[in-house]
Every structure is written in C-alpha cells, then in structure tokens.
Amino acid sequence: MLHQTLAAHSVLNDFFEWVQFHFGEHSTHYGRSFSAALHEALNAWGLLEGTHLLTLMLFFGTIALVDTRLLGWTFRKTPISVLSEKLLPLTVTAMIIAMITGPMLFFAKPQDYYHNFWFRLKMVLLVVAIANVYIFHKVVQKNQAEWDTAETPPLKARLSGALSLLSWVLVMSCGRLIAYNFLECGKPHSAFINFTQECATSPLGAVTQADYDKQLADEKKAADAAAAPPPAMPSMPDMPDAKTAAPAGAVKPEAK
C-alpha cells in the first residue's frame, strides 16, 4: 500500500509535530501554532532565511582563509596565530547570528526538517566540523609555536585545514539542498533514504521503489480494465427501430 505508515513510533517526530502544529495555537491570531505564525508571517521567514544565508558569507569567508592558510595556499608570510586572532571576532560574530537564525528557521517547520535527509546530513557534518575544530585546538595546535610561521604547515595541520574546508563546504551545500523536495518522504526512495530520514514515522510515510512500481502496475491494470470494451451482450431478436416502432399502446394494423 502506498503511503503506508508503519506502526513504528518516534517520540521526536511526535514532539516536533506538536511544536509545528499545536504549540501556542491558543495564543496566536487565527489559532495558528507559533511555528505556523512564524512561517506564515508577512516577511519574517524570508528575512530569517536571507539573514542566515548572508551571515554564512562572512562565516565561510573567514573560515576559508584560515583553512587555506593551514593548507599553505594563502597568506604564507603571515603567522597562523596572527591570522586566526584577527579573523576570529568576525567568525564568532557570524557564527552567533547563524546560531540564532538557524534554530529559528528550524522552529518554523520542525517536523518537516526532522524528516529531511539534507537537514540530517547537515547536522552530522556540523558535528564533524565542530569536532575537527576541537581536535585542532587540543591536538594539532599543541606545538603550533614550532610551525606558526612556516609557509607550508606540517601534514597534521594541512589535514585539519582540508577537513575543515571540506566539511564546511558540505555543511553549506546541504543547507542549500534542504529547500529541495526530491528526497521528500512519501516519494519512492531506496530503503536507505527511507531509513535515514525516518520516513516510516513521518506523516507522508515510507514508499519504496517496489511499492511505487506495484502501485503503478495496479493503476495501469485498473486503467486498462476501464478502457476495455464491455463484454459482448447475448444476441437479442431484432428490435424495431424508434422511427418505425408503433407508440406504446397503439394497435398494430392488421395486414390485409
């Protein structure tokens, strides 16, 4: 059956469904939830999204410069510590704004995002990127004084820079892909995609390619059956046509 919702139950799905459709519904105009009110407000959603995106320009710009310095591609004559120190305030400013606007965007459609493959991948990559920052500070930076001024930093620093650059590029890319619905639950996907975005517990359900093919086949069969000519009727004796038939009740003149 298409759009089947399995018996599986997700506490988080239920929670986000409550937030998206019911939280604050008695406190807003037209009985909308806070999430719906935010999403449907005249300009709030667009402004939040735009601010999030434009802030990422500053965030990515500053991160990319530090990473390319670690890779030995830019600012080769500038000590890494000096570059980081000067750019950090800008990075942090951008990050704070992104960390305010990001959760607000999520709040507007939490259940939709919860079942979005790109959103989930973005969160995983975000954890990877943040873990890389932590490892850089705790491990890679330990002997930074030895290579701070090196035009080409040691391998571990270059690796850390490459991983950081790659993970942030992927985080941003996933963020952009969230807006597209080609992996939306309820459409035919592989078992992997259905599993990773927990489609079974989403309102749209999990649909596999096999389900979809079967449904198409059933629909085709039904359409063919409807289009087929009706079965032949048993042969009847010749009936008079309307023009020559005598009106009901009329007495047929006797043949002379």
Binding site: G46, L47, G50, L53, L54, F60, T74, R176, Y180
Partner: protein, 288 residues
C-alpha cells in the same frame, strides 16, 4: 511619497522593458526547451549549490579586503597584502557564480524574465563587478589611495548601485530584501565606529526598532493593508537614513587604523554592500 511614485514609473522586470518586442519574450520562452535547459533542470539543485558556493567564495575576498579598507579585521596586514592573497577567491567565486547563474537562468528563464528581484539583482551585479575589479582591487593595491581610474569607476558603479537600490526599495514583494542591505550596513558601522559613536549608533537603531514595532504591532496592524505597508517602508527609510548618516561620520571622521583613507573607507562600505544587495536580490527572487 516620491519613492512610491517611482514604483509606477520604473519597469517591474525585463518583461516590462521588452514589452514592445514580443520576439524577446518568445526567445526567453523557448529557452526552457533547449538541450542545455533540459539538462540543467535535472541538476537544478546542484547548480544552485555551485552558485551559492561561488557567492561565498567571492565574498571571502570582498568582505576581508573591504573591511581592511575601512580599518577593520586584519589590520596587521596592509590592504594590498590582503587583496593579493584573496584575489584568487574573487576570480573563482565570480566564475562559479556567474557561470552557474547563466545556466540556472537558461533553465528558469521565464520566471526570471518576469521577476523584479532579478532585474534589480542584475543591475546590482554590474555595479558589484565594477566595484570589485575597477575600484576595490586598484584602491587596495594602492593601500587606500585613489588611482586615476578608480574615482570615475567608483562614480559609475555607485550610480548603478543606487539605481538598483531604488528598484529594491520600491518594488513590492522584493523590497523586504532591503533589510539585509540595511542590517549589513549597520553591522559594518557598528564594528567600524569608534568610542561613544558606536553606542550612539546602537541606541539610535534600538530606538527606531522599538518605535517601529510599537507602530506596526499596536497602532497600524497588518489588517490595515496599504497603511501597514507604508508604515513599514517609512521605518525602513528612517533606518536607512540613520545607518547612512553614521556610516558617513565613520567614513569622513578620524580612523583609529593607520593607512586608511576617506575614499578607501567609502569603497570598503560600498563594495560589501553592493554584493549584499546582489545576494539579497538573489534570495528574494525565490521568495517574491
């Protein structure tokens, strides 16, 4: 209001401009059936990612070089050093953003042809390219000094940008995007202003926002329709005037950072904001 009247005078989109030439509309309509368009439609989302990454890359160069011209950010390096090291980001970013933008445009031509935000974005992009290549780079190379060609290029780019801002401000559906330009200008001014002026600026912005919200949430409600829209626009102009005034104080006042000039600071502000205008315009194509 004068700007409200401009809404009626200015064309809404490329469609309005070429209205008397149906052949142009026909050509635009036919674009979506071309092989390139059909192919791009299949990878539209991926092309959007490339477009955004291009914009992010060029912003790395524009923001850092321009902030240095203003006297903020990497102040331990000269503007020429920053420009030299970030130039590759600008080149790659421009190629990615414009290349992918053309392909996206071919596959989505009719929507863009009728979009006010797209027309505004294209005007702002012309200004942005002139600012980046003919103004910011030469001025940064000269560590804030204006060369012989930078001033006329600046005037031309500024005029084009102002036209795009007028479009952005008056076209319903797109004009909300002006908030991004104002908030970016406000952020730069807040970072760049020194001493008490910074807090005077912040107090002014806060006061405007408080009054704005009181007026549009308690006095003139959303149900008032046009009056509500006009109230929002009025406060948008007031915020813009305040940000512009304090930015000019920053540009023509004393800088705490050696090696910056009035012209360099003006170039720094304008170059960042013109690219914010381009980015905001792009976002509002999808939202309006």
């Amino acid at each position: 209001m004068v700007l409200a009247q401009l809404d009626k005078i200015l064309p809404d989109s490329f469609e309005t401009i070429f209205h008397s030439m149906p052949i142009v509309h026909q050509w635009v309509s036919n674009l979506k059936t071309t092989g390139v368009a059909v192919f791009i439609q299949k990878i539209f989302a991926e092309m959007e990612v490339v477009h955004i990454m291009g914009l992010f890359m060029l912003s790395a160069s524009v923001i850092l070089t321009s902030l240095r011209l203003i006297g903020v950010g990497m102040t331990n390096q000269s503007p020429s050093v920053i420009e030299k090291n970030t130039r590759i980001f600008l080149h790659i970013g421009i190629v990615l953003a414009i290349g992918s933008g053309i392909l996206i445009g071919i596959s989505n031509a009719e929507k863009l042809y009728n979009s006010s935000a797209f027309l505004m974005k294209m005007i702002a992009m012309v200004a942005g390219i002139i600012f980046a290549y003919a103004v910011m780079i030469p001025v940064a190379k000269a560590d804030g000094q204006a060369g012989t060609s930078a001033r006329p290029a600046f005037m031309i780019a500024l005029a084009i940008w102002v036209i795009s801002l007028v479009f952005f401000s008056v076209k319903n559906g797109a004009n909300t995007g002006m908030f991004h330009v104002l908030s970016a200008g406000g952020m730069i001014a807040f970072i760049a202003l020194q001493g008490k002026l910074r807090w005077v600026f912040l107090a002014g912005v806060t006061a405007i926002f408080v009054v704005w919200n009181i007026v549009t949430h308690m006095i003139i409600l959303e149900s008032a329709g046009l009056a509500y829209m006009n109230a929002n626009k009025l406060f948008m102009y007031i915020t813009g005037a305040w940000v512009l005034a304090l930015s000019l104080v920053n540009i023509y006042g004393k800088s705490a950072v050696a090696g910056t000039t009035n012209f360099g600071r003006m170039v720094g502000y304008a170059t960042i904001l013109v690219w914010v205008t381009v980015g905001a315009g792009g976002r509002w194509i999808g939202l309006s």
